[in-house]
Amino acid sequence: MIPAAFEYVRAGSADEAIAAIAEHGEDAKFLAGGMSLLPLMKLRLATPTVLVDVARVRDLSYITDAGDHIAIGALTRHRDVETSTLLAQECGVVASVAAQVGDNQVRHRGTIGGSVAHGDAASDLPAALVALDATFVLRSGSGERTIGASDFFTGFLETALNADELLTEIRVPKAGASGFNFQKFNRRAQDWAIVGAVVATVDGAKRVGLVNMGNTPLRATAVEAALASGASIADAALSAADGCEPPTDLNASVEYREHLARVLVRRALEASA
C-alpha cells in the first residue's frame, strides 16, 4: 500500500504540464484527481517514475456555453459537472451520469478529464460521452487536435492520447434538459457499474451508451438503428448486447452481462421516452 518511489512535479498551467511531460518522457504520468492512478500505484500495478500533478491547473476547470456545444474543461471535478445548471439545461445527461460516479468524496476529487483519459470501460462518464459523440481536445507541445469519443477509446485502458499529450477539453452537444436516463447496475452505491446503460436524445434521435460491456465504452448502435427504423423499445433493446464482448468477473458472467444490458437499455429507453 506504499507506492514505489517517484518524482513529483506540480504544474501551474496546461503549458507547464505539457512541458514537464515532454521533459520526463514515457515514464511520466499526469496526475489529476488521483482516483484511478493512485490506487494502482499503491498496489504497485502502476509505477510511473514522475508524476506531473495537474490538479491545480484551474484554467482547465470550467463549463461554458460555446454556441453549438458545451465546453467542459478537462480538470472540472465530477461534483462541478453534477451540479452545473448550464449542463442541467443544455446537456442534462452528463450531469446526471456524473452524479452517480463513485461517492461524494470521489466526486469532489475526481475530474471528468481524468476519467476520460484513464479509458476505463467500467467508468460511467466515458460511455455517456461516446453516446453523445463528444469531441475531445488534446494538446501537446506541437499543437492541438480534436478527436471524436468513439475514436478516442482504442482498447482496454488504452486511448488515442500520445504520451506527450494532455486532454484539455470535452465538448458535448446541446442535447437538452430531458430525454435521457442512466441505469447504473451495481452491488453498492459507490461501486463501478456491473453494467450501465445511458440513453440521451440528440437532435430527436436516441443515443445509447454501454458501461462495462467490452474493452472500451460502447455505443449500442444496433439498438439505435432499430429504433430509427421504428422498432418498439422492447424489441430494440433485445439487440443491446449485439457485438459486445463483455468481461467475466466476480460479479457477472458474459451471459449475465448481456442479459443485464438488454434489461437496462430497455429500462433506460422507457425512462427517457
Binding site: 500500500m1 514505489a4 504497485r44 452491488r187 466476480l250 449475465y256 434489461v263
Partner: protein, 768 residues
C-alpha cells in the same frame, strides 16, 4: 448533586466518543517510539509449494535496511493455533520447507522507515516448487488429496470424534413422517476491522519487553507472545491503545507479533508492524466457512421429531480456533426448538487458505442459519406458514436453567422465545406483508416481495469465559478507578462500567477512570470476546463497588462515631442516615482508609475479586426481514429489517442499540454482500475492499430495533450479552426472505451471499 434515581437503564451518552471523534484518542499506530524501526513481510504468492532458495542479497543492500530474516536466522518455536489441536499442524512463524497459503510469511525485512522496508521486501527472490492446491473442503477430504500437513494425512484438523462425540443415533428418523434435507454453505467472511492489525515491540532492560498490540485480550496475547520469543511472561507487558474494532479476529495471536518482537530483541531496537489492508485480507484470521448437511424429521403437522447435522468447518492452512467452532454449532443446534433427538457430527478441514477463527458469533450464527433455513424448507414442503411452524416447536417460557432436549450440551439460563417473535410480528405487521406479497405474486410483478423470519438463542460468555477480574479503588481526590480484565475495542465499556460505579457509590461517571488493556495494571483477564464483558467484568465492577461501599461504611462509622448500619450514601460520600451534615466525602474516606485498620484497607480504599457467573448466559430474539427482488436483474433490496433482541436486563439502551445496529449490518452483509473467495490456484480474489463488498449505509434500510427484557439470575445486573446477537438473528432472516421471494419460481434454497447474479441464475434455472 446526589444522583436522583438509578442511572442504570438510561441511554447515557458514551464517554469515549469525544476523543475518538476529534482525533485525540491514540491508536497504536499513532505512537512514536524513539529509535523505532519498521518491519515488512515477504509473503508467499503461491498457495501451496515446497520452499526453495530465498535470496535476500539485494534486500540486505537496500537503503535503510538493518535486518533481513528467514526461518534460518530468526529462530522461534512453531505456534500451536489452538490448545486442543495436535502439534502436527503447528505454524512456523517464518515458513520452513513449505508454504501453505497465499500470505504465509517467507521472510521479514526491518528498515529505518516503512517505505524502505517495503521497497526492500519487494527485492527478496523466493523459489517455489508448486504443490497441488486445495481450496475446497470437500476436495480436501476426498481420497487421494495431498496432505497439507504431513502428520495429518486426511486433512481433518479436528472434529467431533476427537471429543468423543458425533456418533450416529439409532433410529433417529423413526418418528418422522417427512424428512427434509438441505445442504447449506455458510460462506467464509472477513472481519475487516477499521483499524488493521499490528504491534510495536519495545525491548527493555534485563530482557524485558513492552508490546503494544491492538488486541481484544492482552493477557492471552502475553502468554502466546512470551512463548514464541522465549521470555518469561512476567517480563512481558502487553498493552493496547484504543482499538478500532476486532469482531473476534483480534483475539487471535498472529505470528507477525512473534516475528516483530523477536526481531526487536535481536536488534535491541523498537520495531513496529502496521498491517496494510491488502495484508489484512490475507493474514488476519477470517470467519464462518461451513458446509452443512442438514436433515429435519417432522410430523405432517410440523412437529419436529429429530435433527441430523453433518458439518464441515473450514480450518484454513494452519488451524486455529476455527477448528473448534463447529462445537458451538453443535451446542446451539437445537436452538429455541423442542428437538427430541439430535445427531450432530462435524469435522474441521484443512485447506490452503487463511486461517479461520472467531468472527462475531463464532459458531452460533452457523447453527441458527442451519435450523432456520431447514425449518423454512420444511414449512414450504408441508404447506405451513413459516411463523406457524416455528410456534409449533418453540420451547415454552422458562425461568430456571435447563438443557434443551436434543443437544444436552447447553444449559440455558432463562428464555421466553415467543415474546420477541410476537413483538417482531406486530412491529412488522406480518399479515399486511403477506397480503402485499400475495398481491404481487398474483400480479406477476417484476419486483417480488420476500419475508424472512428467524428466532434465535445464542451463548454469551461461552466456553468457560464466565469468570472475570475486577477491582474498584477510590482515590484521595474522591475519584475512582475501575480495573477490569476485559479489553474494549469500540463497545463503550468506559461508559457502561462508570455507570455501575456511579450507581453504587454515587461517584459521578466522569470521575471514574476505566483501567484495562494493560497486563502491568490489570493482573489477569480473559479479554473481550463472546459478548461477555458486561455480564462478567461489569458484574465484577458491581461486586467490587459493593465491597468498597462496605469497607467505606466501616471507615465512616468509626469517623462519625455512628453505627455502621446507619451509614448511607450521601452527596459525594457517606453520611449518617437522615443527617446530611454528617457526611464524609469519598476523598477523605480514601485518605483515611489505610490508617483505619479495617480489614482489606492495606492498599487503600479498594476491593478486588474475580466474579464468577457460574455458567454462560443465553440471549435470544427474533428478526424479520423484508426484501424486494427484481426478478429481471436478480437484484435484492432489503426494504425493512425488524429486530427484537433480548439481552436480559439493559444497562444502557443506547449501547445496546449500537450493538444491535452494527451486528445487524454485519449479519445482513453476510446474507447479501460479503464472501471471501479464492480461485482454483488458491489466489485470494477478494483481497481488497473493492472486491470484498462491505455494504455501506446506502445499501441498508433504517433498522427497526426493539428489545424484550428477560433477566438472567447469573449476575447482579441481570444482563446477558448483546455484541453478537445482531449477526445471529439477521443473517437467516434475510436469507429466508430472499428464498421466500423466489418461492413462486420453485427455488428451494439459495446460498449466501444472495448476489444479483446468483438470484438471476437461480430464477433462470428454476424456469428451465
Amino acid at each position: 448533586m446526589a444522583v436522583q434515581g438509578s442511572i442504570l437503564g438510561n441511554p447515557v451518552k458514551r464517554k469515549e466518543d469525544a476523543g475518538i471523534l476529534n482525533g485525540t484518542t491514540e491508536y497504536f499506530d499513532d505512537l512514536k517510539i524513539d529509535g523505532m524501526l519498521h518491519i515488512a513481510f515477504v509473503r508467499s504468492t503461491v498457495a501451496h509449494a515446497n520452499l526453495g532458495a530465498i535470496d535476500t542479497t539485494d534486500a540486505e543492500a537496500m537503503p535503510g535496511v538493518v535486518g533481513v530474516y528467514t526461518a534460518d536466522n530468526l529462530e522461534m518455536p512453531d505456534v500451536n493455533g489452538f490448545i486442543m489441536l495436535p502439534p502436527t499442524m503447528n505454524r512456523p512463524p517464518l515458513a520452513k520447507g513449505k508454504v501453505r497459503f497465499v500470505g504465509d510469511i517467507v521472510a521479514a525485512v526491518v528498515a529505518n522507515t516503512k517505505a524502505e522496508a517495503v521497497d526492500a521486501a519487494e527485492t527478496v527472490i523466493v523459489d517455489y516448487d508448486p504443490l497441488p492446491v486445495l481450496v475446497d473442503m470437500e476436495a480436501s477430504i476426498a481420497d487421494g488429496a495431498i496432505a497439507i500437513h504431513e502428520g495429518q494425512p486426511n486433512n481433518i484438523a479436528f472434529g467431533a470424534a476427537g471429543m468423543g462425540m458425533g456418533a450416529p443415533v439409532e433410529g433417529l428418523m423413526d418418528e418422522a413422517d417427512v424428512v427434509v434435507k438441505g445442504r447449506f454453505v455458510n460462506q467464509r467472511v472477513a472481519g475487516v476491522p477499521m483499524e488493521p492489525n499490528g504491534i510495536i515491540a519495545i525491548p527493555e532492560a534485563d530482557g524485558a519487553m513492552t508490546a503494544w498490540i491492538p488486541t481484544q485480550g492482552p493477557h492471552g496475547q502475553r502468554g502466546e507472545l512470551a512463548g514464541v520469543i522465549g521470555i518469561d511472561a512476567e517480563k512481558l507487558r502487553v498493552r493496547a491503545a484504543a482499538v478500532g474494532g476486532g469482531f473476534g479476529s483480534k483475539n487471535t495471536f498472529h505470528v507477525e507479533f512473534g516475528i516483530t518482537a523477536k526481531a526487536a530483541i535481536v536488534l535491541n531496537r523498537p520495531v513496529k508492524w502496521t498491517e496494510t489492508r491488502s495484508e489484512n485480507m490475507v493474514s488476519m484470521v477470517q470467519g464462518r466457512g461451513q458446509i452443512q448437511y442438514v436433515e429435519l424429521g417432522l410430523k405432517r403437522d410440523g412437529t419436529i421429531t429429530a435433527l441430523r447435522e453433518n458439518v464441515l468447518g473450514e480450518a484454513g492452512a494452519y488451524p486455529s480456533l476455527g477448528a473448534f467452532l463447529p462445537f458451538f454449532t453443535h451446542t446451539m443446534a437445537c436452538a429455541v426448538y423442542n428437538v427430541p433427538k439430535l445427531e450432530f457430527n462435524w469435522n474441521a478441514v484443512l485447506t490452503n487458505t487463511t486461517s479461520i477463527a472467531a468472527y462475531r458469533g463464532a459458531g452460533r450464527p452457523e447453527a441458527t442459519q442451519a435450523i432456520e433455513r431447514i425449518l423454512d424448507m420444511a414449512a414450504v414442503e408441508l404447506g405451513i406458514d413459516p411463523v406457524d411452524i416455528r410456534r409449533k416447536n418453540l420451547m415454552p417460557k422458562f425461568e430456571a436453567p435447563g438443557a434443551p432436549a436434543g443437544s444436552g450440551l447447553a444449559m440455558y439460563d432463562t428464555g421466553d422465545y415467543a415474546a420477541p417473535l410476537d413483538k417482531a410480528l406486530e412491529a412488522a405487521d406480518y399479515p399486511a406483508l403477506r397480503a402485499e406479497q400475495a398481491k404481487r405474486r398474483a400480479n406477476n410483478d417484476v419486483k417480488q416481495l420476500g419475508i424472512g423470519v428467524s428466532v434465535y438463542v445464542e451463548i454469551t460468555a461461552p466456553a468457560g469465559l464466565h469468570i472475570e477480574y475486577g477491582k474498584v479503588e477510590i482515590n484521595e481526590d474522591g475519584s475512582a478507578n475501575a480495573y477490569v480484565g476485559t479489553s474494549a475495542h469500540g463497545q463503550g465499556h468506559d461508559t457502561a462500567f462508570s455507570m455501575i460505579v456511579q450507581e453504587l457509590l454515587g461517584i459521578p461517571m466522569d470521575k471514574v477512570t476505566l483501567v484495562q488493556s494493560d497486563t502491568a495494571l490489570v493482573p489477569r483477564g480473559s479479554g473481550t470476546a463472546g459478548s461477555r464483558s458486561l455480564q462478567t467484568a461489569g458484574s465484577a465492577v458491581f461486586r467490587a463497588s459493593e465491597g468498597v461501599l462496605e469497607t467505606a461504611k466501616q471507615i465512616a462509622a468509626n469517623l462519625l462515631e455512628a453505627n455502621v448500619d446507619d451509614i448511607v450514601l450521601g452527596d459525594g460520600g457517606l453520611q449518617v442516615a437522615g443527617v446530611p451534615s454528617k457526611l464524609i466525602g469519598w476523598g477523605e474516606l480514601a485518605s483515611k482508609a489505610k490508617a483505619s485498620g479495617i480489614e482489606g484497607t492495606a492498599d487503600g480504599l479498594m476491593h478486588e475479586l474475580d466474579f464468577d457467573g457460574q455458567q454462560s448466559s443465553f440471549p435470544f430474539g427474533s428478526h424479520i426481514a423484508v426484501v424486494e427482488v427484481d426478478t429481471e436483474t436478480g437484484k435484492v433490496e432489503l426494504l425493512r429489517h425488524i429486530a427484537v433482541d433480548d439481552c436480559g436486563k439493559i444497562l444502557n439502551p443506547m449501547l445496546v442499540r449500537g450493538q444491535q445496529h452494527g451486528g445487524i449490518a454485519q449479519g445482513i452483509a453476510q446474507a447479501l454482500f460479503e464472501w471471501v473467495q479464492y480461485d482454483e490456484d488458491g489466489n485470494p480474489i477478494t483481497a481488497n475492499l473493492m472486491d470484498y463488498a462491505i455494504p455501506s449505509a446506502a445499501e441498508l434500510p433504517s433498522f427497526e430495533t426493539y428489545n424484550t427484557e428477560t433477566p438472567t439470575h447469573l449476575n447482579p445486573l441481570g444482563a446477558k450479552g448483546i455484541g453478537e446477537s445482531g449477526t445471529i438473528g439477521s443473517t437467516p432472516a434475510v436469507q429466508n426472505a430472499v428464498v421466500d421471494a423466489l418461492q413462486p419460481f420453485g427455488v428451494k434454497n439459495l446460498d449466501m451471499p444472495a448476489s444479483s447474479q446468483r438470484v438471476w441464475a437461480a430464477i433462470q434455472e428454476a424456469r428451465g
